[in-house]
Amino acid sequence: MRASFGLGLVVVAVASTAFAHKPTVTTFTYNHDIFPIFEAKCGSCHRSGGVAPMSLLTYKEAFPWGVSIKNEVLDLAMPPWFADERYGEFKHGAGLSAKEMDTIVDWCLGGSPEGETPVGTSPSSYVNWPLGEPELILMMPSPMVLDAATSETIQELTFETGLAEPVYLRALDFQPGAPNIVRSATITIRFGGRKQTIATWIPGQTPEALPEGRGRLIPVEAEVGLELHYKKTWLDEGSSVEDRSAVAIYLHDEDPGQLVETVEVTSTSAHTLEADAELVALLPRVDGDIEAVVAEVVRPDGSRERLLRLYHPNSEWPRKYWLVKPIALPAGSRVEVTATAPEGATPVVLVDLIS
C-alpha cells in the first residue's frame, strides 16, 4: 500500500487529495481501473456529444464528479439497469458487479488518482446498425427542431409502412440523429384500432433479435409509431438542436412459423396462458416514484417463479429485459405483476410470448 506513495508527487500524491474526504489513498487509478468500467458501463451516454451532461471518458472530465458518481452508484441510480440480480437472467446486463462498484466508490473517496499510463480516451466505435444492414429504414421525414426555449418535450410520429403483404419482424433498432438530446424512443405498431408497444431504445442499449425461427407479424394495414423523449442537458440550454432519427426494421424472408405476441400485465390484470408458450422478454412501463415492480409466473401446479424485480425504476430509461434462456410455460400458467407504488401509479409489464 505505502509503496504507491512513492510515485510522482503531482501525478499521484497531489491528485489523491482531490475530493478526499479522509486522508486515505486508494490503490485504484483512473487509467488502470476506472476507465475500462466507465467505457463499458457508462460511455454510451457519458461521452462527448452523448445524452449525459458530462463525459466520463477522460480523467479531467471524470474526477470532478467523484462525489456525484459515488452517490449515483450507491443509490443504484446509475447505470440505469434497475433489475434485482437475484431474479431472472437477462442479456446485456448493464448493472455493476460488486467488484466494479467497490472499485469506483473506493476511487471516488480515496483521492481519485489518475494513474501513470494513459489509456485510450475515446470510446469504442459505435456501430450504426450492430445487427447488420436492415431490410427497411424508416427515417423521420423532416428534422424535429428543439428550439432554444424548449428543454424537454415528447414527440410522436407515425410511419406508414406501405406494405403490399404481411411481413414478419425479426428485430428492431433505433438510431438517434442528435444523440445529445434523444433520451429514449418507444416504437409501437398500430392496426385494428390497437396500439402495441413492441420496443424501446435508450442510449447504449444493445439491440436484440428474436430467437431463431420466431417473428412478429406486421399486417398490411399496420403503421409504425415512434415516440421520442427529447431532453437537453445544460450544455445545450439556450441552443436550438435538430434531430432526425431513424428506425431500422429487420425482416424474415418468409413466415418463420412461430409468432411473438405481446400481452399487457398490471397489478390488477394478470394474464393466463391459453396454450403452451415461451416467455422471451419483459418490458416494464413505469411512471412516477415506484419503489419496486415484480413480475412472477404461477404455473398450473401452483409453483411460483419470480421473473423480474425492478428496484426504483426510472421512467426515463425504459428497457426491454431479454431472457438469456426463454422460459417454457404450460397452458394455464398465470403471469402476475405486483408493485410497491404510490396510489394511482399502475406499472405495466409488456410480456413477449411465443406460442
Binding site: 487529495t17 474526504h21 486522508p23
Partner: protein, 372 residues
C-alpha cells in the same frame, strides 16, 4: 488506505486542537510547483489551466508530501513512521507552501521574494489541504455536514450538558455564535403528515467566547442519546447529527499509549467458508457499534467486511448453481451497504445508519446461509 483509516479510528478518543499552519520543515523531496483553484483548493493540477469545477484560472502553488500525526498536526516528517510525540502511525498529507510578508500578510507568493510594499524578505509557512483531519478535538464524535464543508463535534463533558463544536473544511474551529441549533431528546415520526415532530428539545446557545454551542439537557443518566440539529447557513436547512454517549467525553491533552494502534492489515482466509466466518465476525462488531451509537467507528469493520466480500466474489463459481445469483446479489449488497455505513456514519444520521445496517445484515445472513 486501510492503515490511514485505522489510525483515524483509534484516534477517536484523543483530543488536541492544533493550528492548521506551521513553520515549514525541510524534507528530502523537493517541493513541487503545482496549480490550484483559488476557490477549490482541493484541485491540484500539474500544469496551468482552468479549474475543472468552476473553470476559474488556476494559480501556481508549491506543494510537498509529508507525513503527519492524526493528533499532532505540527508533526511533518519526510517518511512514514511513528509520531515522535505519541508513537501513532503517521499518515500522508499534502502541504502547501506559501511565502508571506511578516508585516503585510496580504502580500503572498508561491515563491521566495520580497514584499512589494516594504521590501522585507517573504517568510515561508506551510498549510494543510482540506479534509485531511477528521479527528475529534474534544473527546467527542466528529462528523462532517452534508455540505461537505462544515464539521461538527458533539461532546457530553458532564452530566446533563451537551456541547457542539463547529469547524471548517480544514478542521479549524469556527465561531459558534454564527450558528443556530437545538439538542433534540425525543421526537416522533407522524406517518400521516410524514413529518418528524420534536417532543423534547433544548436550544443550543453559544458560549461567551464562541468556542461552542451548549445545551442543558436535563438528567445526567448514561448512556445518553442526543440529536443535534444545526443550521449552517441563514435560512438553510437544520442538519441532524445523532449521538449516543456511553460515557462522559474527556478532553484529554495527549495520549501517549500507542500500544492500541493496529497494523491495519486484513488477512483474507483462503477458503470461502473462512471468508464467510470472517464477514460474520465483522458483522458482530458493526452491530455493536451501530447499537451503541459509535457511528464514526462503524466504517472500520464494515469496510473490512466489504473487502472480504469482494474476495468472496471469486469463489462464487464454486458454490452450488442454485445459490449463485443470490450470492452475487448478497456480495454486491454488502459492498453497497458497507460504503453507505461509512458515509452515513460520518454524517451522524442514525436513521440512515440503521437502514444501511439492515441491508448489511441481510447480505451477511445470505452469505452465511451458503458458506458456513
Amino acid at each position: 488506505m486501510k492503515t490511514a483509516r485505522i489510525v483515524m479510528f483509534l484516534a477517536f478518543a484523543t483530543v488536541q486542537a492544533l493550528p492548521a499552519t506551521a513553520k515549514p520543515q525541510q524534507h528530502e523531496s523537493a517541493p513541487t510547483l503545482a496549480w490550484t483553484c483559488p476557490l477549490h483548493r482541493e484541485v491540484t493540477e500539474s500544469e496551468e489551466g482552468q479549474c475543472p469545477i468552476c473553470e476559474r484560472s488556476l494559480v501556481p502553488t508549491l506543494v510537498q508530501q509529508a507525513w503527519s500525526c492524526p493528533i499532532h498536526a505540527v508533526v511533518s516528517e519526510d517518511a512514514a513512521g511513528a509520531c515522535p510525540i505519541c508513537q501513532r502511525d503517521l499518515y500522508l498529507i499534502t502541504e502547501e507552501i506559501r511565502f508571506a510578508c511578516p508585516m503585510h500578510p496580504e502580500e503572498t507568493s508561491h515563491e521566495e521574494g520580497e514584499c512589494s510594499i516594504c521590501h522585507m524578505a517573504l517568510v515561508a509557512s506551510t498549510s494543510t489541504r482540506p479534509h485531511q483531519d477528521h479527528n475529534p478535538k474534544h473527546g467527542g464524535m466528529f462528523f462532517m455536514a452534508p455540505d461537505n464543508w462544515h464539521h461538527l463535534e458533539g461532546t457530553y463533558p458532564e452530566g446533563g450538558v451537551f456541547r457542539a463544536y463547529l469547524f471548517n473544511n480544514f478542521s479549524e474551529p469556527m465561531n459558534a455564535k454564527d450558528f443556530k441549533g437545538r439538542a433534540v431528546l425525543k421526537e416522533v415520526f407522524d406517518t400521516e403528515t410524514k413529518q418528524t415532530r420534536e417532543l423534547v428539545a433544548y436550544p443550543l446557545l453559544a458560549s461567551a467566547d464562541g468556542a461552542y454551542l451548549e445545551a442543558y439537557v436535563g438528567s445526567d443518566t448514561l448512556p445518553r442519546e442526543i440529536t443535534a440539529k444545526v443550521q449552517f447557513e441563514r435560512n438553510g436547512k437544520f442538519e441532524r447529527f445523532d449521538f449516543i454517549f456511553a460515557e462522559l467525553s474527556e478532553d484529554l491533552e495527549v495520549v501517549t499509549d500507542a500500544t492500541a494502534v493496529s497494523s491495519g492489515e486484513l488477512t483474507v482466509p483462503e477458503n470461502p467458508n473462512g471468508i464467510a466466518r470472517a464477514i460474520a465476525d465483522r458483522n458482530v462488531l458493526v452491530r455493536e457499534l451501530v447499537t451503541s451509537g459509535a457511528m464514526t467507528e462503524i466504517y472500520l469493520p464494515a469496510l473490512e467486511a466489504k473487502d472480504l466480500a469482494v474476495a468472496l466474489e471469486s469463489h462464487i463459481e464454486a458454490s452450488p448453481l442454485e445459490t449463485r445469483q443470490e450470492l452475487q446479489w448478497a456480495v454486491k449488497q454488502l459492498v453497497r451497504a458497507a460504503w453507505l455505513l461509512d458515509d452515513y456514519g460520518d454524517l451522524g444520521n442514525r436513521e440512515k445508519v440503521y437502514a444501511a445496517y439492515d441491508m448489511f445484515d441481510e447480505a451477511v445472513e445470505t452469505i452465511q446461509s451458503v458458506f458456513r
